[in-house]
């Protein structure tokens, strides 16, 4: 059963940045887009399981810190070598100053 989990405060993430969130033995990445919207994906790159939260967010793209694999964090779509497997994404809801993700 999917449930909504409180992941962080809005202010925990700068605009156009990403944060790691661990829950229930899994790791996620929570993003804040340049225009302030929040998104969530699996936390590990689909290439070699590196934490994407150490990567760089530019516009809609998260670039993996390890080998620069790129994903659109809004859709999870892999955008360029060496990654070719898409990232899972999760619904996000903002409640007051908290960010919730449905997992």
């Amino acid at each position: 059963m999917a449930e909504w989990i409180d992941a962080c405060a809005k202010d925990d993430i700068d605009a156009e940045d990403v944060m790691r969130f661990d829950h229930g033995g899994k790791t996620y990445a929570i993003y804040r887009s340049p225009d302030g919207e929040f998104f969530a994906t699996d936390g590990l790159c689909t290439h070699e399981k590196i934490h994407l939260a150490g990567g760089l967010v530019m516009d809609d793209i998260i670039e993996c810190p390890k080998h620069n694999g790129r994903f659109n964090y809004k859709t999870g779509v892999a955008k360029g070598a060496p990654v070719c497997v898409n990232l899972a994404t999760y619904p996000v809801r903002v409640q007051g100053d908290r960010v919730l993700i449905e997992i």
Binding site: G54, L56, P65, H67, N68, A81, P82
Partner: protein
Amino acid sequence: MNNIVIVGAGEAGGRAAIALRDGGYTGRLALIGEEVHAPYERPPLSKAAIVEPDEPRPTTISGGDRLGELDIERMTDVAVAAIERAERTLALSDGRRLGYDALILATGARARSLNLPGGEHALTLRSFEDAQRLRERIRAAERVIVIGGGLIGLELAAAARTLRREVTVLEADTRLLRRSTPEILASAVEARHVREGVEIAKGVRIERIDPRGRGFVVHSSLGSREADLVVGGIGALPRTELAVAAGLAVENGILVDAQLRTSDPDILAVGDCANFPHPLYPGRRMRLEAWRHAFASGAHAAQTLLGGDDAYAALPWFWSDQYDLTLQIVGLVEAGEAIVARELGDGATLLFHLDRDGRLVAAAGLGTIERIGKEIKLAERLIGRRASQSAAALADPGVNLKRLL
């Protein structure tokens, strides 16, 4: 153009094939490789393939599973023996002949062998099969001697040490990683190896390697050292023999122009075997042995053949993993004259290399990936901007590099 042949099915050749089809090329396309595998990634061979408990398998290059769907004639386990330019024909090692309109040479490099008595006893690493053999031999060994403190030698030393082998690195030079890495970071890498218990000796002249029992004795200016396994990591040589025999211009790699054409405009060269100019570093030529260059130059050659006129301009970039440390270098360190250091915490460092005009021309980071990953990406974008940067801002970890963009 209706008949393109690619020689060499590694990262660069495989990438060129995929990019040609993705770019709309519908003519005949052949990809010839002497290895039996589909194009695979080499970087894991000196890292995960050695240390991971599971038996390694070749990691097909990204998108490589599509090669089968893209109407590409894939010839594996066969080498191109000669290029007959006058007839625009290739002679294959199995006697077949194959015509071409355009040719992409993506023949890569080979590990340099040790040119001294008994040098053949030192195992080198280039292919998946080399990695399988090294994996078995390292696991069976107690004492490992690595000759050469370059990237692959040090990665293998780290892998062997991670598996708790006794490891000695013998380096001829007075410092490690001279070709690739600024001295400050090379010293930090060395210190880490020493802390892990690797013995590192520099300025060592190797004289010969003798078999003894089931192992070897390495005779050098240090005296005689026994080991169960000797590994050679003394660099790679571009595979230019086809190009030389065909009369193409070759000098530390196959010489290409900004569009990656060789001295014969119907033949292009990409990846480790090519020597190319770069618009960000005028007046220089370079040959890179790095994954990104293989990928990007392969894709760029496809664009050139599809009618593009852009100069190849991917920034040089490589990484190396040793223990939990990542080394990443972007740009061309030699083009810099001054160094500004930015301390990122937990011992992680980012060095900015600035040219005479204060422009950032390279950045080199060492630390955990969490510490350096994002910063080096921002540095890369700053290099692309070609603007002069304030040394004070670069050095201050409190200044978000994104603001300098």
